[in-house]
């Protein structure tokens, strides 16, 4: 068989865009061509993998609020062509009760503004809490994925002079790795990853037989690592922030050991060369 299915046809097959005739013809060919069958399978897998990878960025809440306000302000004035309603004639009684009307309107405006302010404050608190929960979930997911043996680390080394330079040119910030580590703690390697749509360094350590992931990213000011919950789903979470960096550590090791490692990494960032005990 020499005439294999073209890339266009294989691609359209994965997208469900072939006509009935094209589909019948493609199926007939696939029945006798392992090479094209393999390619067709790859196209379908690629499509679903791309769909997952492509859902990557979420709009910041401020943008959503701004645009919602913009849309709601103009929504009442805007209707698509053909469904406009007749303009409302001005009320005849408006002139008679003009001053009273203005006073009432001002009072209603004040009350509305107060209500909006209270609502916004409550929403902001809820959003911060939701951001923290989302960050913790993301950190857990990535740590658990790292625990799977099927996903090797992108850089495997116990040498900090190998691990740190590996990130050069890959992340828009720099960090230090501690010279000395707490007892029974070793550096295993690292991954380049993403947290909250920001590039992050995932440092992987072992404390005894427990693995620890320490995520470092540029400080965004959105979710303070210090405010993260101390424990969730059986894992302990700790964090710290410096002027430029935000660090989040997660592991099922006991909190005292995790705290020692986090302290050592924090000292390395702040330039304090105090060695961990």
């Amino acid at each position: 068989m020499t005439d294999h299915l073209s890339h266009d046809i294989l691609s359209a097959l994965a997208d469900g865009e072939l006509t009935a005739d094209q589909l019948a013809s493609a199926n007939q060919h696939l029945a006798g061509c392992p090479s094209c069958t393999s390619n067709a399978l790859y196209q379908s897998l690629l499509k679903s993998a791309t769909a997952r990878a492509g859902h990557r960025y979420t709009p910041p809440p401020e943008l959503r609020e701004r645009l919602a306000l913009l849309a709601s302000q103009t929504n009442s004035q805007l209707q698509p062509r053909g469904i406009r309603t007749a303009p409302i004639p001005p009320s005849r009684s408006f002139g008679r009760f003009g001053s009273l009307g203005w006073a009432a309107a001002a009072a209603i405006l004040l009350v509305s503004l107060s209500l909006v302010f209270i609502q916004r404050t409550a929403q902001r608190a809820e959003r911060t809490s939701a951001e923290h929960a989302a960050l913790v979930t993301e950190v857990f997911d990535q740590h658990v994925a790292t625990l799977a043996d099927s996903q090797p680390l992108q850089v495997i080394s116990t040498d900090r002079h190998t691990v740190k330079p590996w990130f050069q040119g890959k992340i828009p910030f720099s960090f230090n790795l501690p010279q000395g580590l707490p007892s029974d703690t070793t550096l295993d390697g690292a991954n380049l990853t993403y947290l909250g749509n920001q590039p992050a360094a995932q440092l992987v350590y072992s404390i005894g037989k427990h693995r620890v992931s320490v995520f470092l990213r540029q400080r965004s000011g959105k979710a303070e690592a210090n405010e993260l919950p101390a424990e969730s789903s059986g894992f302990h979470v700790m964090g710290f922030s410096t002027e430029d960096l935000e660090a989040i550590a997660v592991s099922d090791v006991d909190p005292a050991h995790l705290s020692e490692l986090v302290g050592a990494i924090k000292h390395a960032q702040t330039g304090d060369q105090q060695q961990p005990k």
Partner: protein
């Protein structure tokens, strides 16, 4: 021209701009970020798109495809934005794409395909970071069709309306994008195999 005809949907659309546009904000922002490659430009692009859509909502015909309509505005706004102009200076888009041939020759060697097994294919595709890196290498015309097709799950007809190109070109670009993605994943997989002990 056939691709200039909007895809009509059954039923009369009587919603206001807010009801139609706000649910699409996550999709618009995601595509904008992919195209602009940074949050600030993406926010500017989406806001500009909203403003233009609001201004032009009068010209939107109820019953036609609003998603394709607003994505067309986003795309046109991107093309004239700082990020879009920079991208066009970097890549001579239409020349690079060579869209005269719909099918086009294979851009990866047959031998490379023969080396692959279903297991290696799955390993490549399971590596999200590698796939994101591969997507970032796509030129904007290929990236946008992949995003609209795979991520936004738009049909070829809708994509043709949004991008103001013929359906045949949509089909061709999607095929080319996937060939390029596969080649990029192959390259990455090959280099990582060499790197890892």
């Amino acid at each position: 021209m056939p691709w200039k005809q909007s895809a009509r949907e059954t039923g009369r659309q009587e919603s206001g701009f807010e009801e139609l546009a706000l649910p699409l904000l996550p999709s618009l922002y995601n595509v904008a970020f992919w195209l602009c490659r940074n949050a600030t430009d993406a926010e500017d692009l989406v806001q500009e798109t909203f403003l233009k859509s609001l201004g032009g909502f009068d010209s939107f015909e109820p019953g036609t495809n609003f998603k394709a309509w607003i994505f067309r505005i986003l795309r046109n706004t991107y093309l004239t934005s700082r990020a879009g102009l920079a991208a066009r200076r970097t890549v001579a888009l239409e020349d690079e794409l060579n869209e005269s041939g719909e099918s086009g020759p294979a851009q990866y060697p047959e031998a490379a395909i023969d080396r692959q097994t279903p297991e290696t294919n799955l390993l490549q595709l399971a590596d999200r970071t590698a796939l994101i890196a591969a997507m970032e290498t796509l030129p904007p015309p290929l990236l946008e069709v992949v995003l609209l097709c795979d991520v936004e799950e738009m049909k070829y007809r809708e994509i043709a309306t949004a991008l103001e190109i013929p359906i045949g070109t949509v089909m061709s670009r999607i095929a080319r994008a996937r060939v390029a993605l596969r080649a990029a994943l192959e390259t990455q997989h090959g280099s990582s195999r060499e790197f890892r002990p």
